[in-house]
């Protein structure tokens, strides 16, 4: 067996500082957005008592879901014993933690009372899946950190396999937990589906891998280090499988909804009459996030081009954000069915008058908060990558 060498990320220091500076500026802007939001109150956002969770939650859920998926590569190496993936594992674990922290940060900063974070950490209502998620997230960070240690420290190597399996199992539970946040909302038609949890798991595989592929190729390009084609090709095939599976579950979700008559109105809203949500579904979720990347990665010539593979990964991410947007915002915009057989013709609190959906347009402040969380995670990376990074060539 060849030895794997983890080397420093030997990128030119100018480039390194440039990246950090750009990221710092963006997060500073996002920071101001948060201050503005917390100082004035949430009225500066597009969120309301009708659309309760908005763009910050879309980004946060996307990052958290992607976090567990980013661990794919490490899991393949340790749980499924594929040696070729082992050198890529540290980046995978690091990225997973960074994505999760980014997502959680957004959630916390969006709270009405973020200064009460300690209350959330010390007072648990164990009936709440949300409270369980707080535990799951903390546990995930701890387990993955330990796992990283077993990879990088030879003395700890004997725990490598066990830690890998633990991290793998934990992240499946974590994504199930994230999906269940919505699955428990039985009163809202879009969320009352058992298929939500497995769907989230499959989505996480795709989102996480796509982000991983982008980060991997960027880091290697920036440091002028060659990244083997074989690695990228393996990953893109895997991405294709995940995207296909995701499409399949999307199909199943909507088919099961169409099967029950009570959900027909909701399905008509998402698939046909929902305006922005319908557009995001067909163009964002299905076309950009599904069919196009699928066609690219399995195309005989495009699928061999590194830039096309890169583009496919970006599409999966854009499509992923669109998917979560449709689930979270679309699911709330559709009026809750309170009075079957009746039409609401007037209301002092909206309530879907004549079946009308709630309106929502994100404000700059909340969009910045969402993007800021993503940048936060990128900032963690170069700093840590300067210490450890995988070199796939030593393994192939």
């Amino acid at each position: 067996m060849k030895k794997i060498f983890y080397k420093e990320w030997d990128i030119a220091s100018q480039t390194y500082w440039m990246i950090l500076a750009v990221l710092a500026v963006i997060s500073a802007v996002a920071g101001f957005a948060v201050l503005h939001m917390e100082h004035s109150g949430h009225w500066v956002t597009g969120m309301s008592n009708q659309i309760v969770w908005g763009t910050p939650h879309v980004f946060a859920v996307f990052l958290i879901v992607a976090a567990s998926g980013a661990l794919n590569v490490a899991s393949i190496a340790s749980v499924f014993n594929k040696k070729a993936y082992k050198p890529l594992a540290p980046l995978s674990a690091l990225l997973a933690v960074a994505l999760l922290i980014g997502g959680l940060l957004i959630l916390v900063l969006d709270l009405g009372r973020p200064e009460r974070l300690m209350v959330a950490m010390t007072t648990y209502n164990f009936k709440s899946i949300f409270a369980w998620n707080i535990l799951l997230y903390n546990g995930f960070i701890a387990i993955v950190a330990f796992y990283l240690w077993t990879i990088l420290d030879r003395k700890m190597n004997r725990f490598y396999k066990a830690a890998g399996v633990a991290a793998f199992v934990w992240r499946l539970i974590l994504t199930t937990g994230t999906g269940s946040i919505f699955g428990f909302l039985v009163a809202r038609q879009g969320y009352d589906a058992a298929i939500l949890a497995p769907w989230f798991i499959i989505m996480s595989f795709g989102f996480g891998l796509a982000i991983y592929m982008l980060v991997l190729s960027d880091f290697f390009r920036l440091s002028d280090r060659p990244l083997g084609d074989s690695v990228m090709f393996r990953l893109k095939n895997l991405l294709g499988v995940f995207v296909a599976a995701s499409l399949l579950l999307t199909l199943m979700y909507h088919m099961t909804n169409l099967y029950g008559t009570e959900n027909h109105a909701f399905e008509a809203f998402i698939l046909r009459d929902g305006g922005i949500y319908t557009a995001l579904f067909w163009i964002g979720e299905i076309l950009i996030g599904g069919l196009l990347p699928l066609a690219i990665v399995f195309h005989p010539s495009l699928g061999k081009s590194r830039s096309w593979i890169y583009a496919a990964a970006i599409m999966v991410i854009i499509g992923g954000i669109a998917t979560i947007y449709v689930i979270i915002i679309g699911g709330q915009a559709f009026p809750m069915a309170m009075f079957p057989g009746k039409t609401v013709i007037a209301s002092g609190f909206y309530d879907g008058i004549n079946g009308l959906a709630s309106t929502y347009s994100p404000s700059l402040a909340e969009a910045l908060l969402g993007i800021g969380g993503g940048v936060r995670m990128l900032k963690i990376l170069p700093m840590s990558m300067a210490d450890e990074v995988a070199d796939p060539h030593s393994a192939s």
Partner: protein, 253 residues
């Protein structure tokens, strides 16, 4: 680490007073109920379950006396549109504990009016999902928010099937004494709990309704006006399919 359940622990914490049950055990198996509300120095218990019946036949179109009374009683007027806000958006962000809804039957075309507010579920989804336990159900059936532990995550608003809750999106001009509150927390109808805790037995909306369409009282007391009305007229729970056993019932829809 502290766990919370949905009993009246919090209220006890607040009151920090001696606990006296308002149901007295006279002899094994024989319990004497006191139908009136427990005064503030007693812990609430489940001998009372507060509830309401809305008679939509009586509820008049165009009237919003109950909503006005609620706004006034609970200080909802203290929230004014922040400077620079978009009026249309603000209208969706301002808190409302109670609203009027007008329905039209799809088949018969019959129009009915009703006030809609927190239904004080016996199995409240809002309390189930609340991560900190800030949403809780008192032993006497009132569901409310502990504003000291609410972190403003709005998960309860996502879970409530009646959209009964409001998030406070803005700074509050004055601090009303009856219901202390502030930006960043969630609130909703609490059956005018301050009145009940003072020993009163009516809500502001009930008092305000010119048509007597709202009957409020103790569901556990078979002789209360609300129990008698419930026994007499057919009534329904909104979204009965969710089996929440709501404390607010409607007749005529």
């Amino acid at each position: 680490m502290k766990t919370t359940d949905q009993t009246d622990h919090k209220r006890r914490d607040f009151l920090k007073t001696g606990v006296a049950a308002s149901a007295v055990t006279l002899a094994p198996g024989i319990v004497m109920h006191t139908a009136e509300a427990a005064p503030r120095d007693k812990a609430v218990d489940s001998s009372v379950r507060w509830g309401m019946l809305v008679d939509t036949f009586k509820c008049a179109s165009g009237c919003d006396s109950c909503v006005q009374a609620c706004n006034e009683e609970n200080g909802l007027e203290a929230y004014s549109m922040p400077e620079g806000a978009d009026p249309e958006k603000w209208d969706q962000q301002r808190p409302k504990w109670m609203r009027n809804v007008t329905l039209k039957d799809n088949l018969s075309g019959r129009i009915s009016n009703l006030p809609l507010m927190c239904q004080h579920c016996e199995n409240p989804p809002c309390a189930d999902v609340c991560p900190t336990g800030a949403s809780f159900r008192r032993a006497d059936g009132i569901v409310m928010v502990d504003r000291h532990t609410c972190i403003g995550c709005r998960y309860c608003m996502m879970a409530c099937p009646y959209k009964a809750r409001s998030f406070i999106h803005e700074n509050v001009d004055i601090k009303p004494e009856l219901a202390p509150r502030g930006k960043g927390c969630v609130e909703s109808c609490n059956f005018c709990v301050h009145r009940l805790d003072d020993g009163e037995t009516s809500t502001a909306c009930q008092d305000a309704c010119p048509e007597n369409a709202i009957i409020f009282g103790d569901l556990n007391d078979p002789n209360s006006e609300v129990s008698k009305a419930l026994a007499e007229y057919p009534s329904v729970q909104i979204r009965a399919d969710l089996r929440l056993n709501t404390g607010v019932r409607y007749s005529g829809i």
